[in-house]
Symmetry: C2
Subunit: 323 residues, 2 copies
């Protein structure tokens, strides 16, 4: 199960990675955490039913949620995207509800683990994933393990600082974070700044209201040769390359994966990112690290949650309570 | 054994971490790699003899060297600090010479592993170490494992980029790297720039020649209240805090350790680093991550090499060849 700010998605996935059934429900976080927990359990039931499986056929459940969280404890603490939830013992509640071993994970970590298991990172031993959306999430896999961190703050790669002297403000309240430069929100913001400064662009005319401008509009304008839009895409590729290189010089993974809505920008963005990485990274990682787009789209989260459940099952086997 | 640009240091260390004997010899890299390999083997013999041990009493040997390298292969590739060495099969040569299982590791990784085993990180499960000297080296330990990276470029934390818009040139040939801001060399360079710009300071008069200015002189001047020197120390603490925070938001370790010659600056530097981290990191890691100076000084490298040897021994036991 992947719990998002607006939707809870779930799938029943077998050991080989095949999705046998799926279900989704609105999160309706504003209705409170008891309602949300009930929705999570209902998604488990519906996904199981949609796969034609009995409860006894489920080896383990995995639930991924946004943070902040305490991963080992299975608790969401104060999730900005799930207000007003607070100190929600997700793992315990789901485990009690079904009597089945339950894994709990950060949603961006789970997406990385999903791509590692069945997506772009299949066959790799390590990867770092950047999920590019409203913000920038991250997940790091090294030797089959998610790097959760000791305080459940591992892989917050969107909030590594890349600028000291003229740092942009970040939605997290800090300044100079990668997210402040290269999220979809930041792409729109940087474009608006250039439009406001009077730079010529076809984006001045469309869309009708500047408030409705999206990253997709900008990437599309770049494809038509719009100079301002091309400049924005080029700068975005540079910022993402810096994020990638900082991970290549820290984690040095087999692969860097970019996922999230922004990869709809397509191969031209990926090609630009690769060129900057070639120019800026140490020669050996520059040559050997694979730079790819994610393959699983919005399913990466629940697939990764299932991968965490599978790992739990392989480690502990079925608990007596699940019989 | 820790192979440095000028000196090869070795120690005979028992399972509990006690150094029973030590030895060192000049590296004399310019005399070529065969000479260097002979010096490494001679340090092993002398350290063993100084401990009063017979060869049969040595369970395993660990050798740490500067890079670039292929850690799994046990080879130094093209080490800038050991010119003209090239493609040197260190592990194989040492293993052949003594018939004892031999571990090979990057020197900055080894220093981190030494601090993890017997130094500041004793009892921790994870740490990130910054070694502050002429450059900035790094080592990352997560759950008892060094993060070597898939291309032996893990933990090159001195070469993560922290500035986009006005990047300082780094000795590595790139720009904007942490090392370009916060190494001892960078501290001196930043100070010289401010002196050249005419900023008032007691450092104008002493030392006699501006070429001989050291980071130590600057930290000492700061202690006496020199305004320029204090500003430099404060900025250095800020840069190091940024480096630490980027690791806290990526690796999220139990502890950040600063080592190397520059920590002679003392508690005032550490206190300033901690204050910046408190102000700039996510609240939970800011509150829970320990920020410490290293404890093992220049012995961290060979102690860490021994820790790698110990780990190898615990994993594979004595090989038949060592009997």
């Amino acid at each position: 199960v992947d719990v998002g700010g607006t939707t809870i998605k779930g799938g029943a996935i077998d050991h080989s990675g095949q999705t046998l059934g799926a279900a989704s429900l609105p999160t309706e976080a504003s209705l409170g955490q008891d309602h949300g927990l009930a929705q999570i359990c209902e998604v488990v039931r519906r996904a199981t039913a949609s796969a034609g499986l009995a409860r006894e056929q489920i080896a383990a459940i995995g639930v991924a949620t946004p943070g902040t969280m305490d991963i080992p404890a299975g608790i969401i603490l104060e999730p900005p995207n799930l207000r007003p939830w607070r100190n929600v013992p997700v793992r315990e509640v789901v485990h009690e509800a079904f009597g089945i071993p339950t894994a709990f994970q950060n949603d961006a970590n789970a997406a990385a683990y999903g791509e590692y298991w069945l997506g772009a990172g299949r066959g790799m031993r390590s990867l770092v994933m950047f999920t590019l959306g409203t913000g920038i999430g991250g997940g790091i896999v090294v030797d089959d393990e998610l790097l959760e961190g000791r305080h459940s703050h591992g892989a917050e790669v969107g909030h590594t600082r890349i600028e000291l002297s003229q740092p942009r403000p970040c939605p997290c309240g800090r300044v100079g974070c990668l997210e402040a430069y290269a999220s979809a929100t930041a792409v729109v913001k940087r474009t608006r700044e250039m439009l406001d400064a009077g730079a010529p662009s076809c984006l001045h005319g469309s869309p009708a209201s500047p408030e409705s401008l999206t990253a997709r509009d900008i990437f599309r304008a770049a494809e038509t040769g719009d100079f301002l839009a091309e400049r924005i895409v080029e700068d975005t590729a540079f910022y993402l390359a810096i994020g990638a290189i900082n991970m290549m010089h820290t984690i040095d993974p087999d692969m860097i994966v970019f996922g999230g809505g922004m990869i709809a920008a397509g191969e031209s963005l990926l090609g630009r990112i690769r060129r900057h990485i070639q120019a800026l990274a140490f020669p050996i990682p520059a040559q050997k690290t694979e730079i790819r787009f994610a393959l699983l789209g919005g399913d990466a989260g629940f697939i990764g949650a299932a991968a965490c459940a599978r790992k739990l099952h392989l480690r502990v086997g079925r608990s007596p309570r699940s019989m």
